[in-house]
């Protein structure tokens, strides 16, 4: 756990993302970016792109490879597909974040839960709309494996994978500093089938400091 010294009152950008909504925004090199879990155990599904070249984007396997570890926390460098550092996590009051679990989609909900869940809102729909509305239109091909901030997906030494109860709580946050100009795309997960959020998706707040 690493506390931040930043004061929310000094943030230059502040926005609450309601559950099930998306947010796309540029974060400039050197700026500090915080995601704030307002009510606890929410999943902030997050993608980053190099603002100058969106084909250079967050790489889950590249990030796992660079730190030779699965979970993200203070000190983790978020790596791009071209081997660049996009951002570095500098504060974290949650403890660990997931980059294995990816996003929910309407299609994967039919596989994971039941065929009749197809009609329910899912993260990939939000990612697609956010990606289409960015200055450079991005498509489904640009949507790769994302970070799930505040999600707890423990892996056992025997190779089991579980979606455990959250380790986040109201007011916890993760903060990172941009190492280059990046575009951040968040889907604030609308998932109603996962016990991790108590079947109750809640808002998160994003803050940026110069």
């Amino acid at each position: 756990m690493t506390e931040s010294t930043m004061n929310p009152a000094d943030a230059t950008h502040r926005h609450v993302i309601p559950a099930g909504d998306w947010w796309v925004h540029e974060i400039k090199r050197g700026q500090t970016f915080r995601i704030h879990d307002l009510e606890g155990n929410q999943a902030a599904d997050t993608l980053f792109y190099n603002a100058a070249d969106p084909t250079d984007r967050y790489s889950a396997d590249g990030t796992i490879q660079a730190q030779q570890a699965l979970y993200l926390s203070t000190g983790t460098k978020l790596m791009s597909t071209e081997g660049n550092v996009l951002l570095e996590i500098t504060a974290d009051t949650c403890g660990r974040h997931d980059t294995l679990g990816g996003a929910c989609s309407r299609e994967s909900n039919t596989m994971r839960y039941a065929h009749d869940k197809e009609c329910m809102h899912a993260c990939r729909d939000s990612f697609i709309r956010g990606a289409q509305e960015w200055k450079v239109e991005l498509t489904k091909r640009d949507i790769a494996c994302n970070i799930n901030f505040f999600m707890n997906v423990p892996v056992s030494p025997e190779g089991g994978l579980t979606f455990a109860d959250g380790i986040s709580a109201p007011g916890r946050y993760v903060e990172m500093v941009a190492a280059m100009d990046v575009v951040c795309l968040i889907s604030n997960c609308p998932q109603l089938n996962n016990p991790c959020n108590g079947w109750n998706p809640t808002p998160v707040e994003v803050l940026i400091w110069d």
Binding site: A60, G101, A103, M111, P157
Partner: protein, 238 residues
Amino acid sequence: MKPILERTLSGAGMWSGIISRGKRLRLTDLEGGANVGMLLYNALERHERYNMPDTLKGQHIFYLRAPYCLHSDMGRLLASIVRDDCGWHDTVCGHSDAARVLAKYGEHNYQEARNEWYRNGRDCFLIELAKWGLGKKDLVPNLNWFSKVVADEAGKLSFVSGNSKAGDIVELRFEVDTLVVLNTCQHPFDPDPVYHPHPVKLEVLQGDNPATDDPSFAIRPENVRAWENNETYHSLRF
């Protein structure tokens, strides 16, 4: 039965091809210690691709082995693992790139080394992807057949040497017509200080479509539902 295709990839070899539904791809680790980096796409809809997260969370596993399946990002199955002599294959650690190979093994370019030069997984993927109209946007977390990586409680990863022995086989049955892109570059965490990609035999074999009680589907209700999505896709399309 005589294979439809039989080929040995030596050094850091690469291959790509479309293998239709029902056919099988058999990979044989000829010396032990091989690694096969692999990406998969629906041959007819190439934006549909292998999805590491859905494969793991759909089956509650961190690694792959028979009789588990390989899930696409569209709620469907691309392939099932029908035979496996190793019991553990990695899909989270990605592939090597030029900078990593240079830092780990040193410079060994084509001009000096000819076909003994040092290649890397990323370049091999991009070369083969380009031949099918795909590129950097299509690079997603890949499979690493024959390689075992375990995580401790804190999530720290370690490579387990000796996972695959000479003669070990992994065999996939394709559940849709699939574009297969692969290379035999070393795993990024292979602790061998010597650049030494091991040869792998590829065989494509004739096969049949599975029954609904196939072990790969029966192992998880998620796989049954994904298979039902495949059936819907095929009945609409063909």
